[in-house]
Chain length 415, copies 2
């Protein structure tokens, strides 16, 4: 991609109305733009990052047997009344609207109810189970406040996976697999080191649920971390009894702010029972299907990556997430020979299937180009100028030293 | 994919509450399921088809310079009041809802206004143009009636591209390129032969807009087709004056029902003017940006493909759209040797990166499996049974004769 053609350039000013670091950097670097409080547009750079995060999550969900589906946002109240979640006491962030016929409908904040109903049309016998279904679908949540950029919005794509098993033991086994898959996701997103499996309130049906909390100053949550055991406890369940349950010692725990980047719940028969999702076991007995649910917000992950990995120069993307792998900075492109040289390297990298952003602006200073490259945060920077011969100046975004490398050496370095 | 593991199996009965052929077939074959009137869930098979259609459209939009973005569904009334489209007189299919603060917001039926506003933050000079932006985004339309399955729904993913040029001539040139790109899309989707560039009402700013209408019994529109000239006229502009304008003769036109699978509009300065999207030309004069908009509904295309190409046995997918390329029907799988043979062919095809659905059910008759394969409509069927030796029975979905081929011959045939 040529930078002169890219829609969504860097801005000189930090947006004044954003308090979160990630929103400020993402807007300034040209990834996102605010449409209204809690609603953001993803510009081409931002859409690429979001898609990369979605692809990482998709691969890990498919690896544990997940099949991708897509449900509607518009919701029929009837299903939600069955589980007492249509009223504000059940879910306090509904957006509700009306059909032309006058009938009330809602915008889904989550999908346990409609999916449970859907699955009941296809599952009758133990032979139809297990089933693991997931989607990347736009959720709407009528949040009272929304001022953390893309960390908490009124509308966002959520990956929600739901598991359907015959027994509690089968759910337990899958739940462990999902936990492992979640850590694979956060490792690939560059958040692994700072992300803790965190015990949180389980609600009426399980003792605990689990959150994946990433230590981060912008976090709205407070957790207590045991760094050695790689475990944490959310402050909502931070009691002596719980610590004893989990074998944690108060003196080993550190209080830190954190962002909830994922959560997983054992739902058991909470939704299958009222909604009539049952199966017949091998001896002909009808039983409720045992469920779990597993969420990750790709845009919240995107914001958290920026919060955690950015330095004072700008964003630092991990390789799997970055909008492009290589950022070519062309200097002195008014000179036709230099411009041609830079174009040639750009083309060669593209032929090698390397995703490249080429800063081909002819009227911008070297200093401004370097500052923009740091702000945008692509993993590898190449500088092509009048001085470039066989060897090209190569620098990783998260290193300070540049090296002089040939193109084959660069390809080896970044692969 | 093993058919025993696939979520969303074929059903014996046709859904009684669906009037459109495509909805009946897609539900019966396990592609979609109705959630409420005008809202459908996409099951794994249906999600794969939808994604394939989206990918075809994405490739053709990128080929003409489109950059992908993603805007919010939630809409601030203020922008739409500027263009007189917040009221029901402006757009009569709004869903409206309220923030917790009490402020009214809408769900986007289209995105001219918010995108025009967004682009105005990045475009100042003629050097920032042209810009072509597109998205695959969920639109909400409060349709009074919705009974044509996925041909007209209250919620659907739409590809909407918007063009931003300096002059009317530049818009005209891009508009032609978009037309060509649209025909490439419909050709790849298997709809090319039956899809006509159709003159329709242009509104106050252009004499005509253009629709892409696919001849189809389920269509809600009536068009008049000149088969030789590959042109059509929508009945809303079917007058002697218009025919004369377009050089069409009444006696060469055939009246047919059709589905509008795409539409393109020259918006000119209709939105840029009220919303203040201007640029400074090379002589320093401020001018409104000249716009166009270009829509395609991937799910409507999916329904239309089924309407147009299905035969009395079931769905017939074109290769680029099909959920899998090959459908292996295993017969007599109770026999371990046969099961192993079928598994081996399944694995070999997967190693060759061929997408395969393997009907590995051991307790279903040959007749039922063949009927399901025809209903599901995957392009190539392989039959593996006790009789299978080096040569495997191979049949294309749209042919009647089977052939006996070796695996390498099959790979050559389908590539």
């Amino acid at each position: 991609m040529l930078y002169t053609k890219l829609f969504g350039k860097t801005k000189k000013e930090t947006p004044a109305d954003e308090v979160s670091k990630s929103a400020r950097l993402l807007i300034q670097a040209g990834y996102i733009q605010k449409e209204m409080a809690g609603v953001y547009a993803f510009l081409p750079l931002g859409k690429r990052v979001l898609d990369n995060i979605i692809q990482v999550i998709r691969e890990e969900m498919e690896a544990i047997g997940g099949q991708e589906i897509h449900l509607g946002a518009l919701q029929n109240p009837e299903i939600w009344e069955t589980t007492d979640r249509w009223s504000d006491e059940g879910i306090d962030v509904w957006f509700k609207t009306q059909l032309k016929t006058g009938a009330e409908v809602g915008l889904a904040t989550t999908h346990e109810e409609p999916l449970t109903k859907l699955v009941s049309q296809y599952v009758q016998s133990y032979r139809d189970l297990p089933v693991y279904l997931f989607q990347f679908q736009t959720k709407f949540r009528n949040e009272l406040r929304s001022k953390s950029g893309i960390l908490r919005t009124r509308e966002f794509i959520m990956k929600d996976l739901y598991s359907f098993n015959t027994t509690g033991e089968a759910l337990d086994t899958f739940y462990e697999e999902a936990q492992t898959a979640y850590f694979k996701v956060f490792n690939r997103l560059g958040l692994g080191d700072k992300t803790y499996l965190t015990f949180a309130s389980g609600g009426p049906f399980s003792k605990y649920s689990h959150e994946f909390q990433t230590i981060c100053d912008a976090g709205e949550d407070t957790i207590y971390v045991d760094e050695e055991k790689k475990l944490a406890v959310n402050d909502e369940v931070y009691t002596d009894q719980v610590l004893q349950d989990l074998g944690l010692e108060k003196e080993n725990l550190k209080e830190v702010p954190a962002v909830e980047v994922g959560n997983i719940f054992k739902l058991k028969d909470k939704y299958s029972k009222p909604l009539g999702l049952t199966y017949t076991d091998s001896s002909g007995v009808e039983k409720p299907v045992i469920m779990g649910s597993y969420g990750i917000g790709p845009a919240r992950c995107m914001g958290t990556i920026v919060e955690v990995l950015a330095d004072k120069e700008g964003i630092v993307w991990p390789a799997e997430v970055a909008p492009f792998k290589v950022h070519i900075v062309g200097l002195g492109l008014q000179n036709a020979e230099v411009a041609e040289k830079a174009q040639k390297i750009y083309k060669q990298l593209q032929q090698e299937k390397v995703e490249v952003l080429f800063d081909d602006r002819a009227d911008v200073s070297a200093g401004e180009k370097f500052a923009d490259a740091d702000l945008i945060g692509i993993p590898y920077r190449l500088v092509v100028s009048g001085k470039t011969s066989e060897k090209i100046e190569f620098k990783a975004r998260n290193e300070t030293e540049a090296k002089m490398l040939t193109l084959p050496e660069i390809l080896a370095e970044i692969s």
